[in-house]
């Protein structure tokens, strides 16, 4: 992202106001609370980081031409199941899943004004 790009003042203010309006939404509050609860628990964050590290490691091995054995695959799926069923993480993910249609609805307002898909250009 180009951090040096200077936005017109009105656009800068409108973007900030829009962000603040999003934050006032109940679904955003619910997600931010669920995310904070997940991040506040050291065991929960460690579990998620362990899955990310294992995923990166196995992906690197596959990209290097290695075929993963049954033990490695089982270890990955076991850990992923633990993450998916961890109450704080599943609550956070569920809150985000509830929030996404609200954000998509708002993005479609911008896209309709522009006649192009805002999300495709902004990511």
């Amino acid at each position: 992202m180009d951090t040096t790009l200077q936005l017109p003042a009105a656009l800068h203010e409108a973007a900030r106001a829009f962000g603040q309006a999003i934050r006032a939404d109940d679904y955003v509050s619910a997600y931010l609370e669920a995310r904070a609860r997940a991040e506040a628990d050291a065991a929960t964050t460690e579990l998620e980081q362990r899955l990310a590290s294992l995923y990166d490691e196995l992906l690197a091995r596959q990209q290097a031409g290695e075929t993963l054995n049954q033990e490695q695959r089982t270890a990955f799926y076991d850990l992923r199941r633990q993450v998916q069923t961890q109450p704080r993480l599943s609550a956070r993910d569920e809150a985000l899943a509830q929030l996404k249609p609200v954000l998509a609805d708002l993005a479609s307002e911008i896209s309709a004004t522009l006649a192009v898909d805002y999300t495709a250009l902004a990511r």
């Binding site: 936005l7 017109p8 409108a14 900030r16 106001a17 509050s29 805002y118 902004a122």
Partner: protein
Amino acid sequence: MDMPIIPILTTTANQEAARQAARSVGNLLRQTPTYTAFLGLLEAVNADPAVQQLAAQMRTHQAALQMGRDPDQHAVALASVEAEVAALPVVQEYRQAEAATRRLFQVVDALISQEAGVAFAENAQRSGCGCGG
């Protein structure tokens, strides 16, 4: 907090305010010279006879590849036509305008996300239908 199961079907006062704020952002983005130039070049590319002719050739090669007819020959021909399209001045200008528009939108999105506390565009993208087939 009691919330409806299907959020998209309900509109709270906050959500309506957010919709209006979204439209304001869209309107102001639309007025920027960067976006105006991008849209103009998009239209110019779509109307360009050379682009249209080459696009028709690309579709022919793509269809042949999908049907598995002389795949090596059509793959080479397709890459050649794609390179020809990319080299057209109007397409190069369009790509530059598109890149500038992306930079603008990304800066705006970072600001929105920072205030919202959640990555906006990343989480606002509608997923595919996932219908299988």
